[in-house]
């Protein structure tokens, strides 16, 4: 620790003029939008200090990769080789990895190990290398805690299964298994049985890059408390806040309901853990932010329920330290108003805490501890609504894709608001659908995504606190708060609604929908009653100081109290409806758009009012909009805010095009309530969403679409399918991300789909369309009513049938004929104008004829082609950030100004296709499958990816290899590849197989596939699919590293699918590419065949040049 690189700033070392900031790459479970928020804030903060910022990130869907956030922006793969080239070119004096999550820290270690930092004399800022190792390597961490005298749970670090078994024999189960150096606890878990122990240890060792796991005495049931701490180079330390997990130890904190500040700790306990946290950050020598997790002795009733057989030697134990900005620090920042990333960045370049102004008050400094005068509740958003087969139990391995936060003056109200913010249908705390859900039969009292509702249901059935403590170990304080909610439910059920009762219910967070359900009224009637009784929420400010000082931050939450602190903003303004929690199908891309919408409004002199519930985002940063309401995105909350912002009789208009399906769903309610919407009308939205109206619309324009219809019953569906012919694509109407979308091959599958996978009723119609297997393309376009601007055309590498969010997409349409391009532009223009789009739209096309797979290496056969419309969405799509970055057209901003009434011509743009750039950009999806046990990874019409990366270069091979590299899908010469191809794809796969051989790959294949390959005379090793019968089988060759990629296609017959499941899961666990589309596999092997001079590394600006015509 004596030679900390970051510790001697301002002394002998040269001043920091240029700093490289590493982003966190694609969104994956455990590393989400919070790092865009942190990184963006840090870049701005560093530039305020006069530091020139070089930024690298592979994720285009980030604000931080906008060219105006940093001085030099690189959208390039996050590898040591790439970053070394950037360092060689930019020669920064410092590198700041602590804002890029675990990815950033791991890269810093790798860069140091590779000698890059020494070679280019780059100082590591923020967290010393030693500290990264101490925090990540369990053995180092143990020694460190021992040295500073802080308690750690009894444990042992092991490097093999044998060592693990030895410890288990000594101390017994349950034991916690924590792999070293993994994201979000990947590969870890709690073992209660010998079999679980064996399995988890094996997966933990496999997922740890250093094959090391920690075995720890289980502290399940203890209170889990976190502190966010900041330290500067003068050793001044503060804690920003502490947080208490409602779900006690045993569930990953990312998968826990978390409350800030702590609720059940006395001041003595609070200060004991605070002092420990300061001691730890000082001991680690961190300059910047840090997250510390501790376990505190539980309430005696919980302790009794736990029946532990060991006597703890301490009141608390230190569990984990994240020596960097983390998801928890994003939450803490939003919960307190204290900008941790901003302050951390300034500290990293030598500022002291008291020298940094508190941007929230504008008066005080950053050297203080926020005082909260409200309660904050965070609830994770899990993907199990999309993956009903996934294992819903949450343990030490994080599974949530996102989270919501709510603020109120009581815990009950904050909890209920957070529940509303989750946007899982209309699931309030009253929901009791878990019994009929796929979770039936699981133990819902163990930590899982439905536990909150299960506990509520149990309380309604008179379960006592004692019983529930025994099953959940949740502290009695939280259970009695939930009991109070149930008590109010009973009053609302049994009593006549009076102003006093309704006021009390609102103070406990009951929504109009809940009150209506219980008091037998429509939500609108409850709203009317509230108006009559003058019961409306007031808005209070999040000001970091509990009102002690006047604050300038425009950051508000609703509550039912006396004083309103948010009078309407004077003058022109518009509401931006955000996109809520990050979930599969609605990711950070929509937040990117919301942020740009807010900026565009402000630029146009219109005050921007942001509503969002997601603490991880840039949109909820206090200085993104003119005013931020941290609220659920439901009708009640949005209408209350609009009421609060209404001056006279003129409600402000809302922008709904950027908030994904969340905002689009709200558009109908807002229109119904007579509230204005900016841009395309609710009616235009309805034309695009209503199958019948849409069909009539297109036929009027003479634009073809695959035949199909919207159906309201099973018999109707069968009739339609028979008329249009199988295979058919089926999906519920009004959904995003292809939720529950499938391709079905025959009538029996159709019946299964309509009865098991979804339901079909007149209210919940299902769309049945003929499935066309062809080249898929999409465009985003801006329409002002006079012209339609198409920034660029994206062609998908995977043919139609793979959800567009899971497809690789190429800009520009390299492999399209001129005629095809003209048709796409013509259709887009006519649709935009005829539909009355004002603002954005996204159109997906399928091209019939020609080759479904096309690339410069395999050009299309010459043949007649025709273009069909798959769908039109009159709103911002997830490709907006990508297309903005590869064309330099500020799509979201232009669209916002169009919505305000400006024309494209007035802004200097014209209609048609924007000049093609001299570059190739390829977007590749990134999945988090290794985190989701039991989920099948094959590509299909239902979206599964959590994030994306971009490869950009001057030519196709360079862009393709970078996209594959960034998405961890690259093949190397000499790789072993396992093939298991469905019969219907065998013939077509021969091209791929030849290319693999040509690229020098060794082929392994399952029985049928191997026979086919042998028949063509090409070399292949046959590997059995039968797991129990012989060695090596398919799973063995994956696990022992014989193969480093898998190609496995599916027949579409669900019964055969289970066979391939083991192959795909094994590949996922082993973290090797698993191609389930022949097209992706072809692209990967062609990248290898086309590779000539490698790839270039350039600032994003340098690539952007129009092709001279």
């Amino acid at each position: 620790m004596s030679n900390d690189l970051g510790n001697d700033l301002g002394n002998a070392t040269p001043p920091l003029e240029k700093v490289l900031v590493i982003g966190s790459g694609p969104i994956v479970i455990g590393q989400a939008a919070e790092f865009d928020y942190a990184g963006t804030q840090a870049c701005k903060s560093l530039r305020e200090e006069g530091v020139s910022v070089v930024l690298v990130n592979s994720n285009p869907a980030t604000i931080m990769t906008d060219t105006d956030i940093a001085d030099h922006v690189y959208i390039e793969p996050l590898t040591v080789e790439v970053i070394e080239r950037i360092i060689a070119r930019e020669r920064p004096q410092g590198i700041l990895p602590t804002l890029g999550g675990q990815t950033g820290l791991n890269l810093a270690v790798a860069l140091s190990d590779a000698g890059v930092l020494d070679r280019y004399d780059v100082r590591l800022l923020g967290t010393p290398l030693e500290t990264i190792r101490k925090a990540e390597d369990r053995e180092f961490f143990r020694n460190f805690l021992h040295d500073i005298g802080e308690p750690e749970p009894p444990n042992r670090t092991v490097n093999s299964r044998e060592e693990a078994q030895e410890y288990c024999d000594e101390v017994g189960l349950p034991l916690v298994v924590r792999p070293a150096y993994t994201l979000g606890g990947t590969g870890g878990g709690i073992a209660n049985t010998p079999q679980e122990f064996e399995e988890i240890v094996a997966s933990g060792l496999a997922s740890s890059p250093i094959t090391q796991v920690l075995l720890e005495r289980s502290l399940v049931g203890w209170k889990e408390i976190e502190y966010e701490v900041i330290r500067d180079g003068d050793d001044n330390c503060i804690t920003v806040c502490n947080m208490e997990n409602l779900d006690p130890m045993g569930a990953h904190t990312g998968d826990s309901i978390v409350v800030a500040p702590s609720q059940t700790l006395t001041d003595k306990e609070y200060q004991m853990l605070r002092s420990a946290s300061l001691k730890i950050i000082r001991g680690l020598g961190i300059e910047g932010g840090c997250n510390i997790q501790m376990a505190l002795r539980p309430h005696p009733d919980v302790a009794e329920a736990l029946q532990s057989h060991w006597e703890p030697d301490s009141d608390y134990y230190v569990i984990e330290v994240n020596p960097r900005v983390s998801r928890s620090s994003a939450l803490a920042s939003k919960a307190t108003g204290y900008p941790i990333a901003r302050v951390s960045a300034k500290i990293a370049v030598g500022k002291r805490l008291h020298e940094i102004p508190n941007a929230v008050t504008g008066k005080t400094g950053a050297a203080f501890e926020p005082a909260l005068d409200y309660c904050v509740v965070k609830i994770p958003r899990w993907p199990f609504d999309k993956f009903p087969n996934g294992d819903r139990q949450v343990t030490t391995q994080m599974k949530a894709t996102g989270e919501v936060m709510a603020i109120d003056r009581s815990f009950e109200a904050a909890l209920q608001k957070a529940t509303r913010s989750l946007e899982i249908g209309n699931r309030t705390l009253l929901w009791e659908g878990m019994a009929s859900d796929a979770a039936a039969g699981q133990n819902l009292m163990a930590p899982n995504d439905l536990r909150l509702w299960a506990v509520m249901a149990a309380l309604r059935r008179n379960s006592t606190a004692e019983e529930l403590i025994g099953k959940t170990y949740i502290d009695p304080w939280f259970l009695s708060a939930m009991q109070r909610i149930v008590n109010m439910e009973r009053r609302l059920l049994g009593e006549t609604l009076t102003p006093d009762l309704l006021y009390r219910a609102k103070r406990l967070g009951f929504s109009d929908v809940q009150v209506g359900t219980l008091a037998d009224m429509l939500p609108e009637q409850v709203r009317d009653l509230r108006r009559r009784w003058d019961l409306r929420p007031v808005y209070k400010m999040v000001d970091t100081c509990a009102a002690e000082f006047e604050a300038v931050t425009p950051y508000y939450y609703s509550t039912y109290e006396q004083e309103n602190e948010a009078p309407p903003i004077p003058g022109d303004k518009a509401i931006v409806i955000g996109s809520g929690p990050i979930r599969i199908g609605q990711g950070i891309e929509f937040d990117y758009c919301s942020v740009h919408a807010a900026w565009a409004l402000s630029d146009a002199g219109v005050s921007s009012v942001m509503i969002n519930s997601n603490p991880e985002t840039v949109s909820t940063d206090f200085d993104t909009s003119d005013r931020l309401y941290f609220e659920p995105l439901d009708e009640e909350a949005v209408r209350d805010i609009i009421d609060n912002e209404t001056v006279g009789d003129v409600p402000p208009p809302s922008v709904v095009q950027f908030g994904g399906q969340t905002a689009i769903n709200l558009s109908q309610s807002l229109a119904h309530a007579g509230l204005p919407i900016l841009g395309s009308s609710a009616d235009s939205i309805d034309v695009a969403s209503d199958r019948q109206r849409f069909e009539e619309f297109l036929s009027r324009l003479g634009i073809p679409q695959p035949p199909g219809a919207s159906v309201a019953s099973v018999s109707e569906a069968l009739q339609v399918a028979q008329n249009i012919g199988y295979p058919v694509v089926v999906r519920p109407s009004y959904v995003l991300g292809g939720r529950a979308m499938e391709i079905v091959q025959n009538a029996s599958e159709l019946v299964r789909y309509l009865t098991v996978a979804t339901e079909v009723t007149p209210e919940r119609r299902v769309l049945v369309d003929h499935y066309m297997e062809g080249k898929e393309c999409e465009v985003d376009a801006i329409c002002d009513g006079e012209q339609v601007l198409i920034p660029g055309i994206m062609e998908h590498i995977e043919r139609a049938g793979v959800h567009s969010g899971d497809s690789m997409a190429i800009y520009p349409g390299l492999n399209l004929t001129e005629e095809e391009v003209d048709t796409l532009v013509d259709y887009t223009t006519r649709i935009g104008l005829a539909m009355g789009v004002r603002g954005l739209m996204n159109i997906q096309f399928v091209i019939q004829g020609g080759s479904a797979y096309r690339s410069p290496h395999s050009p299309s056969e010459d043949s007649e082609t025709s273009v069909y419309i798959i769908e039109v969405n009159p709103r911002g799509s997830r490709t907006i950030p990508f297309i903005s970055k590869v064309t330099s057209v500020p799509v979201a901003r232009l669209a916002t100004r169009v919505m305000l009434g400006e024309t494209l011509a007035e802004m200097g743009y014209s209609g048609g296709l924007w000049p093609r750039q001299k570059l190739v950009g390829i977007k590749a999806p990134v999945f988090s499958m290794s985190k989701l046990v039991g989920v099948d990874s094959y590509l299909g019409p239902e979206m599964k990816s959590t994030g994306e990366v971009m490869g950009i270069d001057r030519d196709f091979p360079g862009a393709l290899s970078k996209a594959l590299m960034a998405a961890s899908l690259s093949l190397k010469k000499g790789d072993g590849v396992l093939l298991s191809i469905a019969d219907q794809h065998k013939a077509e796969s021969l091209v791929l197989i030849r290319e693999l051989i040509e690229a020098g790959c060794r082929l392994y294949a399952t029985e049928g596939t191997a026979q086919m390959i042998q028949a063509t005379g090409m070399p292949v090793t046959m590997i059995t699919k039968l797991l129990s019968e012989s060695y090596p089988n398919v799973v063995d060759v994956i696990n022992d590293g014989t193969v480093s990629a898998v190609v496995n296609t599916l027949s579409g017959d669900t019964s055969v699918m289970r066979d391939g499941f083991y192959i795909r899961r094994a590949a996922v666990e082993r973290r090797i590419p698993c191609f389930t589309s022949l097209d992706t596999a072809r692209a990967a092997v062609e990248a290898l065949l086309m590779q000539r001079g490698g790839y270039s590394i350039e600032q994003i600006d340098a690539y952007l040049q129009p092709v001279e015509s």
Binding site: T266, D267, R504
Partner: protein, 382 residues
């Protein structure tokens, strides 16, 4: 609003001298009490706040809305009884959850006849105090209409010598188990601690000061506020600590005179009111702050080292730096408003702090100050 949301709650009112009426529900004892209305921003430590003698004469509003969550326990008292005149909260918890809790907040208030009010918009009250300064108020379950007139009749906070209401009646020794009356055990108990004998003038001392001194091996004796300098010195103290306490130091000339006579003769440390008494003893002035400093998050800079400490604070008056006599220099300042947070004497063994190094409630970052004091004591007596 009580978390039990009972139907039969009794309305209560907090009436401020600016005429504003804040309606809530009664908790604690249903009696009327007046006092200076102040706010405290600590998120934990309500039990310590209630029993801190420096809050005598005040109606204390907590800005954190959820109060009483962990009940009341037998260990965390800062004096023998509740000292606040009344307690103002957004919500009190009558189903506390903690292994050490033996009663609820409401029960505790009731048992000592102290009124409280819950369900009021404490943030609105805080903003009002921030804008207009602290003011007198009446907490009542009776008609609020008469309250404003009543308030005008009642004595003002700065006119009350509150130290007399909280100081010890006679000197006492602090044992490991707590306070021991001097009369019964004085002789027998003496000399059980080998460390320095520290005299604490109790103008409203918090137990944690005594605990921390005792933990550091001191023999700790507390004496009443009126104790004369001669009587103090006759106990042969190795050092004297002037404790925190309530009210305006201008009213305390009877203590200031004694303090003046001990300065320079033994090492002295002053905390909070003790700090103000030292300043006044040496001729400096004190003045009233608009709304004071009450909470656990105030940044204080040590001007010698440049280091910043997060401190616990509870004071409504401050020392005027422009009136400090030669020899007494400002050693610490508050980074929020630049007010004096500590002084150190150039020649005498004497330093003072405006904040609370004993914390309780609040951050424990400043306990090292006691070590500095004992270092000074050791050096002086060497």
């Amino acid at each position: 609003m009580s978390t039990s949301a009972s139907n039969n709650s009794v309305p209560a009112y907090l009436v401020l001298e600016d005429g504003s009426v804040h309606r809530g529900e009664s908790m604690g004892a249903p009696v009327s009490r007046h006092g200076e209305v102040v706010f405290n921003t600590s998120m934990t430590g309500y039990q310590e706040v209630l029993t801190d003698p420096s809050y005598a004469g005040q109606l204390v509003t907590l800005t954190y809305p959820l109060v009483g969550n962990y009940g009341i326990n037998p260990q965390d008292f800062e004096s023998a009884k509740i000292r606040v005149a009344g307690f103002v909260v957004r919500e009190h918890c009558d189903q506390p959850s903690h292994g050490r809790s033996d009663r609820t907040l409401d029960e505790y208030l009731k048992s000592q006849g102290i009124p409280g009010i819950c369900g009021v918009d404490t943030r609105a009250i805080t903003r009002r105090l921030r804008e207009r300064g602290v003011m007198m108020g009446l907490l009542t379950t009776e008609s609020p209409e008469a309250a404003v007139a009543q308030l005008a009749e009642m004595p003002r906070y700065e006119d009350l010598d509150l130290v007399r209401t909280v100081t010890a009646e006679e000197k006492y020794r602090w044992s490991a188990a707590g306070p021991v009356s001097a009369r019964s055990q004085w002789d027998e108990d003496s000399g059980d601690e080998p460390g320095p004998r520290i005299l604490v003038t109790d103008v409203g001392v918090k137990y944690n000061i005594l605990r921390l001194l005792r933990q550091r091996g001191c023999e700790v004796i507390a004496v009443p506020a009126e104790t004369s300098a001669d009587d103090m010195l006759s106990l042969n103290p190795s050092g004297i600590l002037l404790s925190p306490g309530p009210g305006d130091p201008q009213l305390l000339d009877y203590v200031v005179g004694n303090v003046r006579q001990i300065l320079g003769k033994v090492p002295v440390m002053g905390i909070c009111l003790g700090h103000q008494l030292v300043a006044r003893a040496l001729g400096a002035d004190t003045f009233k702050l608009k709304f004071g400093h009450r909470g656990g998050n105030h940044p204080v800079q040590d001007l010698t080292s440049g280091r910043v400490y997060i401190t616990a604070q509870n004071h409504g008056f401050a020392v005027d730096p422009d009136t400090l006599p030669a020899g007494l220099g400002v050693s610490h300042i508050n980074l929020n408003d630049g007010t004096v947070e500590g002084t150190r004497h150039r020649d005498m063994p004497l330093f003072t702090i405006q904040y609370h190094s004993e914390a309780s409630p609040g951050p424990r970052d400043n306990e090292y100050i006691f070590d500095e004091f004992l270092g000074m004591v050791k050096e002086f007596n060497h």
